[in-house]
Amino acid sequence: MLVIIMMMGLLTVYGMFTDPIEQKTRIELDENAVVKLVDRDGNEHDRLARTQIAGYRVVLDGEVRNYSSKDIERYDSSARTLIEVKEVNRFLNKSNLVLIAKDASFFAIIAVGMTGVIILAGIDLSVGSIYGLSAIVGAMALQSLPADTGWIIAVPVALLVCMTVGTLCGLANGAMSVGLGVHPFVITLGMMAVLRGLTVVIPQELFATQSISGFPSSFTTGFFKAEFYGVYPVPVIIMILTAVVGWFVLAKTVFGRRVFAIGGNETAARYTGIPVGRVKVLVYTITGALCGLSACAYLGYYGAAETNAGNAYELQVIAATVIGGASLMGGRGTVIGAVLGAIIIQLINNTLIIFEVDTSYNQIVMGAAIIVAVVIDQTKQRIQAKRA
């Protein structure tokens, strides 16, 4: 948590001291609007030399709006448009922040489930593949729907299909690692390969393609890519809802506390009658289901499923939980931290883009950031432990 606040602060400060970017907005003028040019003394003119213009006054139905000449790049009287230019902070502006949150949301949703897995002292490497397979199967279902299907049908169908696939995969992970007594690293490593294989094979065999698209628009622009105030917030909203529910389950339910108990001391958990196996299977299953949910949001937002969807997501997701303060030794971690961790990862990507760093450097910076974040967190823990 501390790490995240520090990084955000750093970026904000950095954003303030670097050259701002110019954001141009085109203001369409109503036919009835009257535009007057204003000089330095505040007098209105119809015509004025360019150097004399101090501002523009737009009057429409008695309503007056003033623009300073600094803000207006150009006034086109024939097209009746004003081009407004604003300098905005490179980092802190509405569309950039929503963009970061949106990009983060796809794997942040999965990170909520992964938090539970990591708290259990387990690991799930197959999340990226579960996400990919859910997306492909969900896309096949959506494609088969008529193009004019309403969202009231398309959304539940997609959710049901994607989440069923995810749930079954997660259940298989949990049941195998608990039932066979094999470390989840091995089981989910195997599942990662198997499921990714299926993700590629299925569209290839059935449609001879690498991507599936052609969904009802009610599902894409009508729901998951619906526009509000110039941004597309639906994936972000789903991420926030998932995080709230995840936080509630881990903090406020018996099941959640059992997850912590098992991660803290599995032997003691057995000695207090906690059904260790059942809790573990359930956590992996929920993680699978969340992969399905995330895949569904991805389908809706991008309107297509690619066979490489979710490639290397497992690393980003695990990194997000770890940056968010979860301990791979188990017993510690927060959902909120994981979501913020996901945002941090996206933030780093975004920052590098803003500062026009070649994207090839992303991995280097990202990897270093993970290590730094964890070292800072550990140091903090150690200091706290000493104080106690």
Partner: protein, 537 residues
């Protein structure tokens, strides 16, 4: 033979503290070349600690260890090793995945340019191992060998030689070498011990098995409560005298239950002061609360049957490794391989799962607080409520914080657990005594009728101990049936209404009334053959 009578190793005025525990108090013992010298005592008498101080595993607080006239650096395993002291650990400290040969040369692998010279390694290992047991294949992974052979390999490792083929070890400390071995394996090991002594090595043999002392040792030094009692020549001493030295008093009256031990007296006194003296008349002998029938578990328990009445405290005595904790685990449903029947109040406990045991009214405070009991990442409240959080919860498994707070507050108050906060404080911040009280409090809920307590006062101070005794008595007087495992004899004798003595995974005998004495417990516990009066129902 004046040469053989001159000590090679002299430990003088050794004292060692662990926190509040005085493990060794001004102990002086000397060892001669070529002898097998046993260190004997009850659990916790300090015999193992002395062995480890000599081997440099522990640094003594005061005192010196002198080998061949040179004083060793306290707590330096390296220095002790250089001087020629080896230790064969109680727990087999080896890598089971590596071959015997690799295990034997872990500290000094022979190299051939850049690679390990396996042929040389195996040759060296074979030379060492085959002098003890020619049938061991040094190329096999160590984990594939029987415990006895693994033990032999560990001994072989301590016989490392220099370039001229001379054994460098002068003194070998055997720390409970037979604790994980079968009887026949133990016999082989004792033969080897004699052979090593015949080679001129000094063997320090830490053990509590009476028969082994008489089979293979020359002299025996007895420790009690961290103090040196006496060094005896084994030939000149008999078993009762040795037991007497271990217990520290003459066995004159058969009724020694309430006498002589300061701890026992302290227990009785404080309990009387608190008005909580355990009253055996509270036992309802007509009813049976817990009934264990023919409980077996492969390699752990052999046909155990007994009954436990409401209000009764049934003590379980025995030495480390007797199978007492295993019995508790099996009753609580933690041993999947166990067979046999467990009935609570006449009702059989259905499944071999702790949840069924808890539902039937069984509570279990395990032996190892840190590893089996506490959640160090959770608060005091959740640590106490772990078994019943689900029972208190609202529908959908949502925690009921009000009910939880009530349940925790009343128990923290009743048990006087000293904690800064119920929610924020974690068990790691509590004292050992408070941790232990927390674990007992965990089971003080409605519906618990049988309490399994495994070493409930281990490692806590005397003040908290009496508090725990009071709580145990209180639970019994309220009609709970209590099964109490304790290695502290006075505690066991003072609290129990009856005592079962276990050894080698079975019940060696049952002691009631005047039979409940330290001598009888120790005699039964160390007896090799099954006792005539064993309760084999």
């Amino acid at each position: 033979m004046s040469d053989a009578d001159t000590p090679i190793l002299i430990a003088t005025n050794i004292s060692k503290r662990f926190g509040h525990t005085q493990a060794l108090d001004d102990v002086s013992v000397s060892f001669r070349p070529g002898e097998v010298h046993a260190l004997m005592g009850e659990n916790g008498a300090g015999k193992s600690t002395l062995g480890k101080v000599i081997a440099g595993l522990h640094a003594q607080n005061t005192g010196t260890v002198v080998l061949d006239g040179r004083e060793l650096i306290p707590g330096s395993l390296d220095d002790a090793f250089q001087a020629g002291i080896r230790i064969v650990h109680q727990e087999l400290a080896q890598c089971p995945n590596l071959s015997v040969a690799e295990n034997l040369s872990l500290h000094d692998m022979p190299k051939k340019r850049f690679t390990v010279d396996f042929a040389e390694m195996e040759r060296r290992a074979a030379k060492l191992v085959h002098q003890l047991d020619p049938n061991i294949d040094v190329t096999r992974p160590l984990g594939y060998l029987s415990p006895g052979r693994r033990q032999i390999c560990q001994i072989a490792a301590s016989l490392d030689q220099d370039e001229s083929g001379k054994t460098q070890a002068k003194v070998i400390v055997f720390d409970e070498p037979t604790s994980s071995l079968s009887i026949s394996e133990a016999l082989v090991l004792m033969d080897i011990t004699r052979e090593l002594a015949a080679m001129g090595l000094t063997i320090i043999y830490v053990s509590h098995r009476m028969s082994e002392i008489f089979t293979c040792c020359d002299r025996v030094s007895v420790l009690r409560d961290g103090r040196f009692v006496a060094t005896n020549v084994v030939r000149d001493i008999d078993e009762p005298t040795l037991v007497e030295q271990m217990l520290g008093r003459r066995i004159t009256t058969p009724d020694a239950k309430h006498a002589s031990s300061p701890i026992a007296e302290a227990i009785e006194e404080t309990l009387a002061d608190a008005g909580a003296t355990h009253d055996s008349s509270a036992v309802d002998a007509k009813k049976i609360m817990l009934s264990v029938r023919n409980l077996r578990s492969p390699g752990k328990l052999r046909d155990i049957s007994f009954d436990l009445h409401p209000g009764e405290i049934l003590g379980v005595g025995g030495l480390v490794g007797a199978g007492r904790s295993e019995l508790m685990d099996a009753i609580f449903g933690l041993d999947r391989l166990a067979s046999g029947e467990i009935l609570v109040d006449g009702e059989p406990v259905p499944a071999k799962h702790p949840q069924s045991a808890i539902d039937a009214g069984i509570g279990y405070v395990p032996e190892d607080r840190r590893n089996q009991g506490l959640f160090f990442n959770l608060g005091i409240d959740e640590n106490i409520l772990a078994p019943i959080m689900a029972r208190l919860a609202k529908p959908m498994g949502i925690r009921s914080l009000d009910k939880e707070l009530d349940a925790v507050e009343s128990r923290v108050e009743k048990f006087q657990i000293k904690t800064a906060s119920l929610r924020e404080t974690t068990p790691g911040e509590l004292s050992g005594g408070n941790q232990q009280k927390l674990l007992i409090a965990r089971w003080m809920m409605k519906g618990t009728r049988v309490l399994l307590l495994d070493e409930p006062t281990r490692g806590i101070d005397i003040g908290t101990k009496t508090e725990v005794y009071k709580l145990i008595n209180q639970a019994a007087s309220e009609g709970d049936a209590i099964l109490l495992v304790s290695s502290e004899m006075p505690e066991l004798l003072a609290l129990s209404d009856r005592i079962l003595v276990m050894g080698e995974g079975q019940i060696k005998g049952e002691l009631v009334g005047d039979e409940m004495t330290q001598t009888n417990i120790l005699t039964l516990a160390t007896s090799e053959e099954q006792h005539a009066g064993a309760t084999s129902m």
